[in-house]
Symmetry: D2
Subunit: 319 residues, 4 copies
């Protein structure tokens, strides 16, 4: 179906079919987060039964996958004050108080993250049809900065463990393109519904493999991921967001001969969809496999860095 | 009651009364977060009625309150790629895709934050009686790093709007010491309970004042806050955490002649209590004043920076 | 002479008179540094008589003048390893070796610095007539990055202590515009020559005042500095570079009603002149006043950060 | 001669022979830089004949050799303002002025650098016999910070091109230990003198190899370098500093079975010697081979970061 030689044409045709431009008005900055209403939140909270919480975040430290591509490094965490100093009695505070303090320098998309709506453009156009050059300058994203969804992303989460449903030993191989058929099969296998306002998590198993075998090319190399052809499903289901346990959400190498993240080019600027990447779904998936329940309450609050085009996040699922 | 000339004695005596050392075993790294059990979470989730969400985070940007004390700056957010570049067609990607990306450099406690258990020591001793010099070195907190509570902090939240209950026009003046009596009065006024495992938010109104009048000395200057004498209440109630809308949680100037954060010195290393600071409680407090309901579901997931002694956080309250 | 209401016209007219575009070919990236030839260096080295060296750099630390304007902070220096850790024996190295190591995060123009040729544009045009958008993107300055002059800036230095010659108690008041007449008077008073390839240092005395009275608005506020009218002198003398002891090189407030650094707009993109700012000329000026010799050997090597539009520098003068 | 099983004993015995503790008084912070006197500078400046300048600095960018060991990354350079933004007309400045500005985050020893005297300790003792824990805390080096030599390091430079004299095709193999004999042979071959106050540069050729073959393990892996046995020569010659074109100055693997930089442990805390690493000596060495002159005027001014235990540097040699 995919004309491997014409990504630009496929992107344009798909974008036209799935565009949400203007759906929430010309001033909209929240895209598909508009689907995540108060009602959806009330329904989501009702999914908390056992009170067990799962962090879906990888660690933020120098042992991460980044290798410097486009200056994306792993986080550099340094101390401003230490217990060693306090113990040595050289901090100069009164009555025996001592302290430790620290700083971090990191790309906002170095580990578990949200892509904001200002992260990807199509031919110089950002979400809702705005000129990219007027949206994101050196000063940051003046329109759709991640802070605009600071209070939104808490709702019903659904895990689609495609790795377990379709893969071998719970893992999809690198380069495996997850299609709508695979998503539907997973939904059926889990006996769960996916619909408007949901926060959908897709587990491929690649992170489990990286944990076992080393990062290798996890950051930007071959990976399982969503097929370009899922754009229509992503649009039609009216989900609020989707996240994967991979670096780049979509299958890599991509399904065109010379392409770079073509599905991003459709879903972020045209659908207005929020994408999560490098989420750690292992513990949650293990629990879901055990109790057979694949829906839960999910809070994934971005750090409201003003004007950021993405954000680190520690998503918390509660079942 | 407070001997203004003897903070060291008062700290030692209070610490002895309220110590939780060993309560959860010699290896414990979670302190009062042990009170936040799965049961508490289930009860907390039941508080979601309307599905309305509130972010309790200040912005993370150069307009924050930090002035450089002990090298604590406001966050510096810079772009790795911009929409302006994408629009100019100089990014070198195929088929019209363009992107923006960004980095941040910031103290982990520059804005809305959690203090971790490795943040404060008493005479060189950290939480649970460990030598500070063995816990927090230049490599970070090897024992109680904030990542150890990455999956815990979701539960029942309670707002005590002391500013509205006790203050004038909703605000306590700088230097006002909130005592157990004020906390009890607020609890009574709100007709709410506070107990084991709760995440308690105390609003003083100082942030509202800073918004109106400018930051001034918000970072480290005079402020309303908890009295040193509340240590026993903080211990006895068995709450999981407490957060305020001020820089330093406790009243400033402190209640001793020559002191620096004496209540921290008791509650972090001895009670093992998690403290949140610089939380923005304004919108939530307004809503609570309107509907009279001061309890809610609260998720305040720290960013799991390995070995960090604190963390930025975007707490999300849902009512 | 200056039409205070028409900075744009004045800039255009002056730029036309003083333009060096094409002077060193269409590919030139070094501007006035082309004047600093090997011969000039040989002459400069002959000025070393006593062998006394002066650092002309301010300190790089949190006590600097920056206040956050356009995200320019003071340098944040943190430790990766410390002596306290080494003394505590927790570093894990063999045979008793211990170490300390450190990192820095800072704007390249936060303290004593060079402006590179990519730092300032005139109506979107950079040095030598190149489109600014093709020269400096988010990836840095691809053409005139400071690394292109990494091996050039060593030559004859001349100090013009205008503060001592024209000012009161060695200092010019804020807002004082240094004209060609003042420069000539200083040259005469010092009995020194200024010409092709020289590195000219202009002392106003403002830094001495800031040291005495506090930084105040040193970073961006009122200051003595070069008059807009000196552009012709700066062009005609064929100097290689000029540096001052002020934040912004030119007089502030500027000599137009609504203007921002108009002299920069002429001298950097049109003359191709290198400007140094925030240099500490105090010790050198004191020595020159004592021995009456205002020329010396000067090495002011920028840190060759690839693609940087400026650089911190520790200039060393030797007499 | 070297007892491979007893580095600690060898270090102690050598340190005793070569110690300069107290040589310049108990308060000394400059170590061997005391040898670099004004007289030496005058003699050095006289070596400028042709006026040709060489930068001995590698580039500071993401293409450097660092791989994250102990959080040492390559420099991350980001833009605060760009030409792309200026060209798009969105910067908000008057009369057509536009600008670019930038920041950097980097370890101070990530590229061409000086080791300061606070960089290495022997059994918890720093230069001149001071307790390391009192010298270098989380606040930096309070005693021997690199700023203490901000105005010193300009003098006579001597290149010893051991790679060309002893090696094959100008390069020594990894693991090759340069002994006093090799240094003497190079001195003889170059017909140059080395003595008090000199800044000695030793070229191994490893950087040329890394340029050709890729960084590989340049940062911390096997490399040619000075033998542990050269400590006496380094002491006896009374040189002010020594620098190499390698990551670690001394031969790697080291000459003991289980050791880490043992020569550092002697020369920094005991001799008080300044060490330069990762210097780019290629262009200079080529010129020296051509004209047969291996001495020159050298300025290698550290960036005076207050309390830094090392510094990036752009050394400038002029012949």
């Amino acid at each position: 179906m995919i004309d491997r030689e014409n990504p630009e044409g496929a992107i344009a045709a798909t974008a036209k079919r799935v565009s949400n431009w203007g759906r929430w008005g010309a001033d909209d900055v929240r895209g598909t987060m508009n689907f995540l209403t108060a009602d959806k939140r009330t329904q989501g909270a009702a999914l908390v039964r056992r009170g067990v919480a799962f962090s879906l975040s990888q660690s933020f430290d120098m042992n991460g996958p980044q290798k410097g591509w486009r200056r994306r490094t792993n986080p550099v965490h340094t101390m401003l004050d230490t217990g060693t100093d306090a113990a040595a009695g050289i901090q100069g505070f009164p009555h025996g108080i001592g302290g430790a303090d620290d700083v971090i320098a990191m790309p906002l998309q170095c580990s578990t993250q949200w892509d904001g709506l200002g992260h990807i453009f199509d031919h110089g156009i950002a979400w809702n049809g705005r000129p990219a050059g007027e949206v994101v300058t050196s000063l940051g994203d003046a329109v759709t900065g991640i802070e605009t969804v600071a209070d939104v992303i808490a709702g019903r989460g659904v895990l689609l463990d495609v790795g377990r449903v379709i893969g071998t030993d719970g893992e999809l191989p690198d380069g495996f393109a997850i299609t709508e058929q695979h998503l539907r099969a997973s939904i059926a296998a889990h006996a769960v519904q996916v619909g408007r306002g949901d926060l959908v998590l897709v587990r491929t198993g690649q992170l489990a493999r990286a944990r076992r075998d080393g990062w290798g090319d996890y950051a930007g190399g071959p990976a399982p991921g969503l097929s370009f052809t899922t754009a229509d499903w992503l649009y039609r289901t009216e989900i609020a967001a989707i996240a994967t346990d991979t670096w780049g959400f979509e299958v890599r190498p991509n399904e065109f001969d010379n392409a770079f993240q073509p599905l991003h080019q459709v879903v972020i600027p045209h659908i207005g969809l929020f994408i999560g990447e490098m989420w750690d779904l292992e513990a949650l998936a293990h629990d879901c496999a055990e109790d057979g329940i694949y829906e839960f309450w999910l809070t994934a609050a971005p750090l409201p860095v003003t004007g950021a085009v993405g954000s680190p996040v520690n998503p918390i699922a509660v079942k």
